[in-house]
Amino acid sequence: MRLSGLQRDVLSLYRKCLRESRKKDAIARPHFESFARQEFEKSIGLDKKDFSTIEFLLRKGHRQLEMYSSPGIKDIR
């Protein structure tokens, strides 16, 4: 399957989210992982040509990732 640049960006963001989850406590880590998964699944039905929406969500996702990767945030539910 060939991926477009935007699709690769989305997968790269998801990978970053999982990498950041690894830095959290062993107990909280699955919570962060499932939260990331849920956030992505919210817009799984989006048309792949809806570029502006996807770009907006990517920016939003990066901002969220930055926020949740702060070491002060220990757990999420």
């Binding site: 991926l3 998801y14 990978r15 999982l18 690894r22 998964r37």
Partner: protein, 138 residues
């Protein structure tokens, strides 16, 4: 008094000259050769002991990846698991699941796969191939 001092210093000078000329006359190359040949082999042996490579074999890598997928609850049909199965076509995984699998493989072999290579891994045999090409995977 002055004469004895003069004699003594003269004697010292001659003895020193003899000693240094002796050192010059001594063949330098063979002595360094001897010390090398005496110590070099033991140093080599120590290095060999520590550098014995425990490379990963192909069946071992395949087994570990298949085991990892067995424990992955999103695999739709575990009976289709084989060393050649494709993540999305055979196992029914979507692209996010594929990312999760590749990240799990990273952790299993304690390496980091760059995004570009990770995007190219879509099947078990691709993953095995990639792991075998990594010298620091273990």
């Amino acid at each position: 008094m002055f004469r004895t001092a003069l004699l003594r210093s003269a004697r010292r000078a001659t003895s020193q000259a003899a000693r240094s000329s002796g050192a010059i006359a001594r063949p330098v190359v063979p002595s360094s050769f001897i010390t090398k040949s005496r110590f070099a082999p033991s140093a080599f042996q120590a290095a060999r002991c520590y550098s014995a490579a425990a490379g990963l074999s192909k069946p071992e890598v395949e087994g570990r990846i298949v085991d990892l997928l067995k424990n992955f609850d999103k695999v739709s049909d575990p009976s289709k698991l084989s060393p050649t199965s494709h993540f999305s076509n055979d196992l029914g995984l979507d692209s996010l699941d594929t990312v999760e699998v590749v990240m799990a493989i990273e952790e299993e072999f304690s390496i980091e796969i760059p995004d570009k290579e990770a995007d190219a891994i879509h099947s078990v045999d691709k993953a095995v191939e990639y792991i075998l090409a990594q010298p620091d995977a273990h």
